[in-house]
């Protein structure tokens, strides 16, 4: 990359200037957050049982959500990328909608579908007495709802980028479509799959609006880190700052870890093939 510099000439200031503004704009709030955090009682707040509860719940639900998302998301992404069917653009639009939907609206929509009087939740409640809102399951559902689009778009993009010729070759060699998907398509889409997992997981971890609307807010069962931050913000600014930093550190740490361990390997693996 750096070797290309001289041949193309100097990078123009009219591009570098705004680029620097954008980078500072993104970085400054994070630095300010760190600067305002009361570090002296950081540890004692971190080990507060209420904080640990919220952190544990956030990690468990976001991971459960992304597991759920990958189970149904990969087939959906593959179908969108490889199968021509009527209404495909409609389905793709459906995938994008949760991305642009205000999260609170997502929460209301989830209530309408899976609430005790919801389209699906109503019959379920009448038949079994099971009601989803106010449970940890509801948190996972809310997380999955917002994470699925990130995952599907990322995987679909990767599947499209992987040359379809490979599929064709595999087919001529006698591989079934399932084998082709498993042995050829999916490995080629590996980096996109990982990126989708990480993006979707990060989105789930930060989810607030849909969760608090659909699942509620109670310590231990439905109060995730973002909800805990919102509640703390109303009474104890310092606590909110500490919680925010914890959530930020956890997200960045896992992103960094994934990048080191998997991302590079996956990318290199893909390049080598």
């Amino acid at each position: 990359m750096s070797g290309r510099g001289p041949a193309l000439g100097r990078a123009p200031a009219r591009l570098l200037g705004p680029a620097a503004v954008a980078a500072v704009f993104l970085g400054l709030p994070l630095v300010a957050l760190l600067a305002r955090t009361p570090w002296t009682d950081f540890l004692s707040r971190l080990t507060d049982p209420a904080v640990l509860d919220a952190l544990r719940l956030s990690l468990v639900t976001s991971l459960a959500a992304i597991a759920l998302v990958s189970v149904v998301g990969v087939p959906l992404a593959w179908t969108l990328a490889r199968v021509d069917f009527p209404g495909r653009s409609l389905v793709r639009a459906l995938v994008i909608v949760p991305l642009v939907l205000p999260p609170v609206v997502g929460g209301v929509a989830l209530l309408s579908a899976f609430g005790r009087r919801g389209l699906v939740g109503g019959p379920l409640y009448d038949a079994t007495g099971i009601s989803i809102p106010f449970t940890t399951v509801a948190v996972v559902v809310a997380h999955a709802f917002v994470a699925l689009p990130f995952f599907v778009l990322s995987v679909e993009g990767a599947l499209r980028a992987a040359d379809r010729e490979y599929d064709v070759v595999a087919a001529t060699l006698g591989a079934s479509r399932w084998t082709t998907f498993r042995r050829v398509g999916l490995p080629l889409a590996g980096p996109g799959l990982l990126a989708g997992l990480v993006l979707g997981w990060a989105r789930a971890l930060g989810e607030f609006g849909a969760t608090i609307t659909f699942a509620g807010n109670y310590p231990g069962t439905t109060r995730t880190m973002p909800s805990a931050i919102y509640v703390a913000l109303q009474s104890d600014q310092d606590a909110a700052l500490v919680l925010s930093v914890i959530l930020m550190v956890v997200s960045v740490a896992i992103l960094a870890l994934l990048r080191e361990r998997w991302f590079d390997q996956a990318v290199q693996g893909a390049v080598r093939t």
Partner: protein, 261 residues
């Protein structure tokens, strides 16, 4: 002449429409006759006053030609903070005395605030009452999902007091971030019951059914109002306070579910 008649008729209609069922008590703050102030009156009020103050603002404008009432509703704490930070405002009404006291301490009010209303918590259940709740103690029955405000919000603080006073230890299904979220969980029939202000129970209309809470001193919020020392329109500010504390204001507030001061 015709214009004036039309304007008068219009304001009359507005007054009648917004004062609910009217009641002939038109003896509102329109006292001063000479050297009346005109322009914009800025009123800051607690969110729970939204319906009543919006209605009273129409009356006020009708009684004060050339006056435009600008209302801003928010949480009391936010408004008090804005006032002490020098936000341009003429009148402040908060949902509890502690919040108002912070403004008084900062010498932000003209004289002492006047308590003009009270509010208490009430239990609301969905119209078909799925959990069969007939009294407040029923929320402690096994399997009942009730929701409250989170204890950092004023309605949540009050809920803690009420639950303590009534000796109920059953845990809620959720601690919602504000009272409107509690109300909507009940309106949507997701929760079996919720603790909201009496005014919210009224605002919920026929989407919720109220169940009384054994009222005690623990269960009461008092609402103070005060003209502010930074008021640009001190006379109008006083007129507004008079309207709210006067018979017409009290009628509108009572219709909205507020208690007498």
């Amino acid at each position: 002449m015709r214009n004036r008649t039309a304007a008068l008729a219009l304001s009359l209609v507005a007054t009648l429409a917004l004062a609910g069922c009217g009641s002939g008590s038109a003896a509102s703050g329109g006292t001063g006759s000479s050297a009346r102030e005109t322009g914009t009156l800025n009123v800051l009020a607690a969110a729970s006053l939204t319906e009543s103050f919006t209605s009273l603002a129409k009356d006020f404008e009708a009684d004060h030609p050339g006056v435009d009432v600008k209302l801003a509703f928010d949480s009391s704490a936010t408004l008090a903070e804005q006032v002490t930070q020098g936000a341009p405002a003429d009148v402040l009404a908060t949902a509890d005395q502690d919040t108002m006291q912070t403004v008084v301490d900062a010498h932000g009010t003209q004289g002492d605030p006047t308590v003009f209303a009270t509010n208490h918590l009430q239990l609301v259940v969905p119209p078909d009452n799925p959990a069969g709740i007939t009294g407040f103690a029923d929320i402690a029955k096994p399997g009942v999902k009730y929701v409250v405000c989170v204890d950092t919000a004023p309605c949540g603080k009050l809920a803690v007091k009420v639950l303590d006073a009534t000796g109920i230890t059953a845990e809620p299904a959720s601690e919602e971030v504000d009272v409107k979220a509690v109300l909507s969980k009940v309106e949507l029939d997701e929760a079996d019951a919720g603790l909201v202000y009496a005014t919210d129970a009224v605002a919920g209309g026929d989407k919720v059914r109220p169940v009384d809470i054994p009222t005690s001193d623990a269960n009461l919020n008092t609402y103070p109002i005060a003209a502010l020392s930074g008021a640009k329109k001190p006379q109008l500010a006083q007129d507004w306070v008079d309207l709210v504390t006067g018979s017409q204001g009290q009628k509108v507030l009572a219709d909205a579910g507020f208690g007498k001061p």
